[in-house]
């Protein structure tokens, strides 16, 4: 019924982390990335939260896409439906985590609600729709992209920690400027992976 692209699950997972990292290759989720990566601990919390949310919403949106949107022929409403699904999943995740693990809830804190407007979540879902993944591929792609985002923010947070320690940065570049240049170098490093696995 679905002509899914012929991609192995493991290579899809690795590709979504390394070669087509949502952040470094597709620029998704840069805003919260820059503001949160100042702090190592917050980066950890946000990374976990984003990974969970992208993985779960990718699965839910796949089901919604194939069993609600397509049978009804309302593709033109898909943006709105996806946004509502994301907001709903975030809200539910917040309640579930609060109920079963208050410690984790405290750690994630304000990051969960913020994720609703994180471009990475909607971006991954739209990529999933355009590339016509089947269900296992969608889930793997979702978690892989989340993990890639998590990896990228941890790397950047570590680099920024070292950067803040020495003061050699020109005044005009301090803050966002030098962070963007750092991200650029990270993106160049990740481009180096691109010969390894090619998944569109």
């Amino acid at each position: 019924m679905i002509d899914a692209p012929n991609v192995g699950l493991i290579s899809l997972f690795l590709a979504s982390i390394l070669t087509s990292n949502v952040l470094l290759a597709n620029f998704l989720g840069t805003c919260s990335f820059i503001s949160i990566s100042k702090d190592f601990k917050s980066s950890m919390g946000l990374g976990i939260a984003v990974t969970l949310v992208i993985g779960i919403t990718a699965a839910v949106c796949w089901v919604v896409l194939h069993y609600v949107i397509e049978p009804l022929g309302i593709e033109y409403l898909s943006f709105i439906i996806f946004i509502i699904v994301i907001a709903g999943v975030v809200q539910m995740l917040e309640m579930i985590i609060d109920r079963f693990s208050p410690a984790l809830y405290m750690a994630l804190g304000i990051f969960l609600p913020l994720i609703t407007v994180n471009c990475a979540v909607l971006g991954v879902i739209l990529f999933m729709q355009i590339r016509k993944y089947n269900f296992p591929q969608a889930v793997v792609f979702g978690f892989g992209s989340g993990a890639g985002w998590w990896l990228a923010i941890m790397l950047l947070a570590s680099i920024r920690k070292k950067l803040d320690a020495n003061n050699a940065v020109p005044a005009g570049l301090k803050g966002t400027g030098i962070t963007l240049i750092t991200i650029g170098f990270m993106a160049m490093a990740f481009v180096g992976f691109s010969g390894m696995i090619a998944v569109q």
């Binding site: 407007v117 355009i130 005044a171 966002t176 030098i178």
Partner: protein, 248 residues
């Protein structure tokens, strides 16, 4: 000096003109607010696609601000965020449908990035920061100004990337046969570098203007002593760190 005049001018202009000025320069979404670099950077290796995205973002921001400002008394506080997202996605859907109908090739190239205008932080940012407390007309202008303020920076970046990456502008070849394209300009890292450089130039310019206005503000007699007519040039050496990177 014109720099100092520019700093003082906003005090005596109409609200509409002030809004336009803020969006385009003084409170530019990229230079000052550092918002919305997420989704649209991805298409900046091509001028034509960037122009379409910029127009889309400006349309969604201005119309979204207009609608949300008109509705601001009616929206309950608790559901404000979700209402904002829904109104904004309504306009993005319009853009998507229009593009699909009239420019199917571009729509395909842009792929998910049209839909991602919804989560562009500028839209939510302006809805929250401006439209929630201003009249619809002003909110519309503010959205437009922010869209264009964001747009001109992106267009400059796109022009640089397309010129060096493909040797063309708007798809027309502008350099000779011997030109070797810079592959890096087509790929993601260059966009980050170029935004950083743009930010650097803007910050340096701002620091210079500030230093100049500080010199001019305490009293005109003190400012005139180093030499007539060169207050900006005279101020630069006194500003700490400025001479090291005067390229901007």
């Amino acid at each position: 000096m014109s720099d100092t005049e520019k700093m003082r001018a906003p005090l005596k202009v109409s609200p509409a003109a002030k809004v336009m000025r803020d969006g385009l320069w003084y409170n530019n979404p990229i230079f000052v607010q550092v918002l919305g670099i997420c989704s649209t950077l991805a298409v900046t290796n091509n001028l034509r696609n960037t122009l379409i995205m910029v127009l889309g973002v400006s349309f969604a921001t201005s119309m979204g601000s207009l609608t949300l400002s008109a509705l601001r008394e009616l929206i309950p506080r608790k559901v404000r965020m979700i209402v904002q997202v829904l109104v904004l996605s309504f306009y993005v859907i319009i853009i998507d449908i229009v593009l699909r109908a009239y420019q199917p090739a571009i729509s395909k190239q842009l792929g998910p990035y049209v839909g991602l205008i919804i989560t562009n932080c500028i839209l939510m940012g302006r809805a929250e920061a401006f439209a929630a407390s201003n009249s619809p007309g002003l909110a519309f202008l503010d959205g437009l100004a922010n869209g264009f303020g964001y747009g001109w920076v992106l267009l400059v970046i796109a022009a640089i990337r397309e010129f060096f990456g493909f040797g063309s502008l708007f798809g027309f070849k502008v350099v000779g046969e011997g030109f070797v394209p810079w592959t890096i300009m087509v790929m993601a890292p260059s966009a980050f570098f170029l935004v950083a450089i743009a930010l650097w130039i803007a910050n340096n310019y701002k620091a210079k203007v500030e230093a100049a206005s500080k010199r001019a503000a305490p009293g005109a007699p003190a400012g005139s002593s180093p030499g007539p007519g060169s207050s900006a040039a005279g101020a630069a050496p006194s500003a700490p760190g400025a001479p090291a990177h005067q390229k901007g």
